[in-house]
Each structure stands twice: as C-alpha cells, then as structure tokens.
C-alpha cells in the first residue's frame, strides 16, 4: 500500500490532536481589511520560463498573462473583452481587422505598435524559434500591419475562433525590437511586456518578485509588489495561508477547503474548471475497439459517488465531451448515467470474455487521479469487467503520450483553451492530434467543417451531432468537471478564472482597505 501525502497529513493532524482544531484558536481574529502594499502568492511549483511562448503550464501562464498583454482578454466571466486591441471585426470570410490601443508602452519605455503584434504571432509558428505554442495559430495565412494602429490577419480558411485564440496562451504580445536586440535567452530571463506587472527578480525555487506597472493602461494594480513563492508541499502551502504568511494559495484540494473556511481570517474560492477530467481510451486495442464495451465502461461508473466522496461535491458530472461554460454546451443533455445492469447487458451483447482493461494512472498528475482509478476499477469489477490499475510515473506518461503507446485507458485533463469544443475535443481528438486513437468518418468531417465555419448555427448542429457520435463510441470516458480552488485572506477581493489565468488587473483584484 502506498501512503499519499494527504494520508500522512491526516495522520499528522490526528497525532498532534490540537492541530486538528481550527488553527488560529487562541489568537485574536485577524483584521479583514489590510494596508498591505504587497501581494504574496503561494503556488504548487516554480516558474521555469518567462518567455510567454515557451510555456502552457499553469504555474507559468499565471504570471505571463500579467507581465504581458494579449490583443483580446478573456475575463473571469468567460467573455472576450478588449486588450491591446480595442475592437475587431471580420471582413468577408477570412480577414480579421484589429484596431490597436494607442499610447501603450512596454516596461522598458518602447512604444507598442502593430509591428509587435505581427511579429509576436508570426514568431509562435516559425519552426526555428522552437516554441511550445507552435500549433496555436496554424490557421493564420499572413499578417499585415498597414499602420501602427491596425493589424490585419488573413486566415487560410474562415476561422471563427481567431479572437479566442488571441486571448489565450500563444497570444501574449512581446516587444519586437527589444527581443531582437537582446535575443530569446536573455528575454526569457528578463521579460519585458506591456502588462500590469513588471519583472524585478527571480531566485529559483525561492521567490519571484514582480512590481506594479505604475503607467499601466488599465490602471496600476492595487499593490506595489507581488511575490510568488513556490510551495510544493500541500500541507505547508495551506499552513502558509492559514497563518497569513501568504495572501493567496493555488491548487487547494477539496479536503482542505473546510480548514480554510473554518479559519477566521481566510476563505476558499473556486471556479469550475474550463475543461474535463476524462479517461482517454486507446480504441485500437481490443476489447476497447468495440463501442459496446466502451458504453458499458461508461455506464458502470457511479460518477455521483466520485464527486461526493472523492471531491467533496467540488465538481459536476459531465454530459458529454463539451465542458459546461463552453460555446455549444448543450444544457438539455442529462449527466452521464450510472446503470450497472445495462452495462452488463451491453458487455454480453459485445461478447466480452473477460479481457483485461487497464487504467494507466499517474499519482498526483491530476488531482485524485489514483483514488479515482481505484474507485472506477472497483466499480468495473462489480459490473463484471476485468479491470486493472497500473501506476505510471509522470515522465513515463509523457513518453507514452508522445509515442501514443497507452495500453487501455489513462487520465487526461483537457483544457478548453478557446471556450469552444474546437479548442478541446477537436484539438485533441482530431486526426493527427495528440489523442488520435479512434477515427469515425462523419465525426472527422463535422469537426473539420465546424473549425472553419463562421456560421454559428451550423457549428451548433455539427457539435450536437459530434456529441451523439461521441456518446456512442466514447473516445474519452468523461468522469468529472471539477472546481479549481484557491485559499485567500478575507481582505483579498478576487475572482478566479476558469481557464487558470490569474487575473489581477484593476477590474478583478483589490485589497479590502479599512
């Protein structure tokens, strides 16, 4: 048996009996306003890259979205707002025209213009730059900057989601002239953007220091300095917010929320994750090449029990491949049902003969991955499925992911990068995509057509039909759409973004002052 950190934390709390009680007992209730000029954030890991086009990981984009601006900004309400572009419109089918904000300056004093926007987007897909966002703007054909305040983007085919692409990773705007003069390596160590935060210093695995940009076009943030502390150990991270050493902690699991809420000076807030936790399926390997078997697997999972027991209610049961909150999410579709009897029927119909079904899980790559695997394997055994759980180390998972060599099922937490099925289901499941283990001609035809249509009615119909096909073939078995939770001091007024952006601009963050 393997003990998780959480088990030991529980043990520790029980042993030190007093520690199980609300932590601040005996201390005067802390003020719920503050005069602080410094925001301190504790996150689960350190930053490795400051070049915004070098990373898609949450510990890094949290800061790159604040050191840099995008042309378009997705606010915590899920809608698109002006960023460095003040307005945009589609001309014809394939030409997007963006009007750019004037008078914006980079942190080094250089003025921002359309040449920067053009160079930033072109840089992402130029193979010689070896960037990690190289696939974000593949629909772009060419870009023009006719004057400093106008950017014209021509797409290869109609691309209804270009503004949404510009609002997420890959879309951060970097200073062309500065980048050319210092080179990418220096730029990655000393980033310069137009965003509300300026880079000051970074001590690896200790602290990242940023300061407020006093001349930010959206208003100076409500603090002078921001310190990011990587605190990998959950118990230490939660203790740091309970004790008031940090103002915000990220990646708080459901079983810690009561402690944070019971403490006089802190509270927990969450946002429904813009994405799903799914068991992806290698539909090429028997018995998973049989849709009836996959239907049985989906029917035999009691997702309500998983949400209630393992997530303490911090999640919802998905209805299909489209996350709640996304474009074309069908609110009329019921949550995926639990029906072990029907599962057995379908196994019989499929001629299932007890072939092994393997879940290759990680332990802690996504929250609750291993406990969920064990629970699901037990549910499957109850339904007569010969289920087995194998635990992989994270780098082995990465290798299998790259080589497409998973045996059966594995955890994936697809993020909906565009708030649209195109940025999640189609990005991952399309032919040649990272999870291309199953093909269906009609599904492929619709996915391709919906990607390149500016007719939202057509797209709606296409995604409805794709959902139907999906629910028959289950290239993913969706399990949960969880909340992502944060712990805050009560004097922090802030709403989390569902897509892991950490929005501290004036409109979304303030300290409650006395």
């Amino acid at each position: 048996m393997e003990l998780t950190r959480r088990d030991l934390l529980k043990g520790a709390a029980a042993l030190g009996a007093a520690a199980a009680a609300p932590a601040t007992t005996g201390r005067p209730a802390l003020a719920q306003t503050t005069q602080k000029k410094e925001l301190v954030v504790g996150q689960g890991g350190d930053v490795a890259f400051f070049d915004p086009h070098m990373s898609t990981s949450s510990n890094e984009i949290r800061w790159s979205f604040n050191i840099f601006d995008n042309l378009v900004s997705r606010h915590p309400d899920g809608k698109l707002y002006p960023g460095l572009a003040t307005e945009w419109k589609l001309q014809g089918q394939t030409t997007w025209v963006f009007k750019l904000r004037q008078g914006v300056k980079y942190h080094n004093g250089d003025p921002f213009s359309s040449a920067d926007a053009k160079a930033s987007i072109e840089r992402t897909y130029d193979p010689k730059n070896k960037l990690r966002v190289s696939t974000v703007f593949l629909t772009v054909d060419r870009i023009e900057a006719p004057d400093p305040a106008t950017l014209v983007v021509h797409t290869k085919k109609p691309d209804p989601l270009l503004p949404a692409r510009l609002a997420f990773y890959g879309g951060q705007i970097v200073p062309k002239k500065h980048l050319e003069s210092v080179g990418p390596e220096t730029f990655d160590r000393k980033p310069v953007g137009t965003g509300p935060l300026r880079f000051v210093s970074w001590t690896k695995d200790d602290r990242l220091v940023l300061e407020a940009n006093p001349t930010y076009w959206g208003g100076k943030p409500d603090f002078d300095r921001l310190v990011v502390r990587p605190i990998p150990e959950l118990a230490a991270r939660v203790a740091a917010v309970l004790k008031g050493e940090v103002d915000v902690v990220t990646q708080v699991p459901p079983d810690q929320l009561d402690r944070i809420n019971a403490n006089a000076s802190t509270r927990a807030v969450g946002a429904l994750y813009a994405g799903l936790y799914v068991l992806a399926v290698n539909s090429k390997n028997p018995p998973l090449d049989n849709p009836l078997v996959k239907q049985a697997l989906a029917l035999a999972i009691d997702r309500d029990a998983i949400v209630k027991e393992l997530w303490r209610g911090r999640g919802i049961v998905p209805s299909g491949p489209i996350a709640k909150g996304d474009n074309h999410f069908d609110a009329g579709l019921p949550p995926l049902p639990y029906n072990p009897k029907e599962a057995r029927e379908r196994l019989k119909k499929a001629g299932y003969k007890g072939e092994e079904v393997v879940i290759e899980t990680t332990s802690g790559y996504t929250a609750n991955d291993k406990p969920m695997s064990e629970a699901i394997a037990a549910m499957w055994k109850d339904a007569g499925i010969n289920a087995k759980v194998e635990v992989l180390e994270y780098s082995v998972r990465a290798q299998k992911n790259a080589q497409k060599t998973f045996k059966g099922l594995w955890w994936s937490d697809p993020t909906s990068t565009l708030s649209d099925p195109d940025g999640m289901m189609w990005r991952l499941l399309s032919p040649g995509g990272p999870q291309d283990y199953w093909r269906h001609p009609r599904f492929d035809e619709l996915g391709e057509a919906a990607r390149f249509s500016v007719d939202e009615k057509f797209r709606e119909q296409a995604y409805r039909e794709m959902t139907k096909i999906f629910l028959e073939h289950f290239p993913w078995i969706p399990i949960i759409q969880p909340y992502e939770d944060y712990g805050l001091q009560k004097y922090v007024e802030w709403t989390p973004n569902s897509n892991q952006q950490f929005e501290i601009r004036r409109f979304n963050f303030k300290f409650r002052r006395a």
Binding site: V133, K204, I231, E393, A402
Partner: protein, 308 residues
C-alpha cells in the same frame, strides 16, 4: 606527522575512484530511467520535432559515445547544459548549494551539539527517568519519517504555537523547523550511540583507576570518558552527514527550501541528466570531504591511529 603525504595521496586516489563510480552509476541509471524529450515538447508536437531535439541534446548517439563525451567534459569540470533550465548545469546547481549547506551544516552541528550531551547524560544517569525519557524521544526521532516530522512541526510549532514561519528561506527563524526536521534522525542516532559508547567506557578499568585516584567526576567524564568514547561517536557523526544529504531531499520539499535536494528531485522528474549528474557529483564530493575531515580528527583523537 610522519607519512601524511602518502596518506593524503592514498585518500585522494580513493576519492577519485569513488567519484568516477558515482558518476558512472548516475549516468547509466538516468539513461535507463526515461527520455527527457517528451517532457520538453508539447504533446501535439510533430514526430520530426522529437528527432530534432534528441539530436540537439546528443541523445541520438550511442550510449558509449555519450559516456565518453560526459567523462571528457567532467574532467574539464563541465557538467553540460541543463536540459530544463537551458543554462550551465553547474551554474544551476551552484545557485542551490548555499541553501543546502546552510540547512545541512546547521542540522549537523545542532545534532552534534544537542545529541552528545544528551547521550552522555543518559549514560551517566543510566536507568533513571531522564535516561528513559531521552531514549524514548530518540527512538521517535529515529523512526519517524522525515516528512511526517516536518508536517507535524509545521502544524504544531508554526501554525498552532506561532513560533516559526511555515516554510521558505529567510532569517534564522526560517531555519529552525527544517533544521530540526532534518537533524532529528541524526540527533537520535548520535545520542543513542553516545550513550552506549560512554557506558562501555564507564565500565573500563582505567575509569575505576581514575576515580580511585580521587579525580573529580567532571574530570573523569571530560578527560577520560569522553575522549575514549569519541572514536565511534565521531565515526557515526561523519556517516550521518550522508543521511543528512538524503534527508534534505524530503525536508527541502516540505519546507519549500531552495536547496539541491529539491532541485535533484525535480531534475529527476524532468530527466534533466546534466543537473542530476552535477548534483550527485557535488553531494559525493561533500560526503567525501566530510569523511576525510573525520579521518583527520581520528588522528588528533587517537595517537595510535596517527602512528599507523
């Protein structure tokens, strides 16, 4: 000191052999453990990209050629470029060494300074309540896993009693909990060993003689007991330094301490071969240097060893 130069030469030769073996084992084990390339690229990167990065990192060459390159560079003090951080591995590790030395040496001296008097006192007051209590605490220190102790200290001494910060590196207050956590095992081992070593010496004839001569108890303890019990104590203390380096991996993670232990773990996960190789190499050097110092101390403590 007669024969010191040959002694030194012999030790240096053995140290070089040890470092070569350690480097080779780490080189082989890291390459057996997996490929860094899938961790560097987005999952939707094309196959050609994987091949290109592998070539760029020299991972497409035969293992024996990679080993030759590694050894040649090592001889020049070059550990290569970190795959993850994209800068010199030595510079990356160098940024973490100070934090580990600060924590490791504090724990080491804390352990030695606390444990030796406790062990001595326990032995002198054998089978009293104090002896039983001290040895019970030592047993807990020796058997509790490092990160369990760390979390317990955070909950009790930081969160509950509000004595120290929960984590991070800063002033001396930040050092207390990680140093206690890291030093607990060492402290317990040294205390227990000191107790038994002192007990053994206390039964020796020359102690009886010293007492019979009418020497004061303090003189008997300081001059005759401690000095004779010192050899095993010093030996275990030196060996415990290795335990400290191992424990640093966990302690630094629990307390968000930016040291080489935490760097090593992350670099292993990232398959950052050059950083892991450099970290292990430096740790081996530290261990060898400490044990060399211990050997010199033997000579100072025991003239018989010096004469050999």
């Amino acid at each position: 000191m007669r024969g010191f130069v040959p002694f030194l030469g012999h030790r240096v030769f053995r140290a070089v052999i040890a470092l070569w073996l350690v480097s080779t084992v780490v080189f082989v084990v890291m390459r057996l453990s997996g490929d860094p390339v899938p961790l560097l690229l987005p999952p939707d990167a094309p196959r050609s990209e994987f091949a290109r990065v592998r070539t760029e990192l020299g991972l497409d060459r035969p293992l024996i050629v990679q080993y030759g390159v590694f050894m040649r560079s090592l001889a020049h003090g070059d550990f290569g470029r970190s795959i993850h951080f994209r800068e010199s591995a030595l510079a990356v590790v160098g940024g973490y060494v100070a934090a580990t030395l600060e924590l490791g040496l504090t724990s080491f001296f804390l352990a030695a300074l606390v444990a030796v008097p406790i062990g001595l006192f326990s032995a002198m007051r054998r089978n009293t309540m104090i002896d039983h209590a001290a040895m019970a605490v030592a047993l807990v220190g020796q058997s509790a896993p490092t990160f369990f102790l760390g979390i317990l200290f955070i909950l009790l001494l930081s969160l509950k009693a509000d004595l120290f910060p929960t984590s991070g590196r800063g002033g001396w207050q930040h050092l207390v909990l990680p140093a206690l956590t890291l030093g607990a095992f060492t402290m317990a081992s040294i205390a227990r060993l000191t107790r038994s070593a002192v007990l053994e010496v206390l039964n020796a004839d020359y102690i009886r003689t010293a007492r019979a001569k009418g020497l004061s108890e303090a003189w008997v303890v300081a001059k005759h007991t401690l000095k004779n019990a010192a050899i095993p104590i010093v030996t275990i203390t030196g060996l415990q330094f290795g335990t400290l380096l191992g424990g640093a991996v966990v302690t630094e993670t629990v307390f968000a301490w930016p040291g080489i232990g935490r760097l090593a773990i992350q670099s292993i996960y990232n398959r950052d071969y050059p950083v892991v190789q450099c970290t292990v190499f430096l740790a081996a050097v530290m261990f060898i240097v400490i044990n060399f110092c211990i050997d010199l101390i033997y000579g100072l403590l025991d003239p018989r060893i010096r004469a050999r």
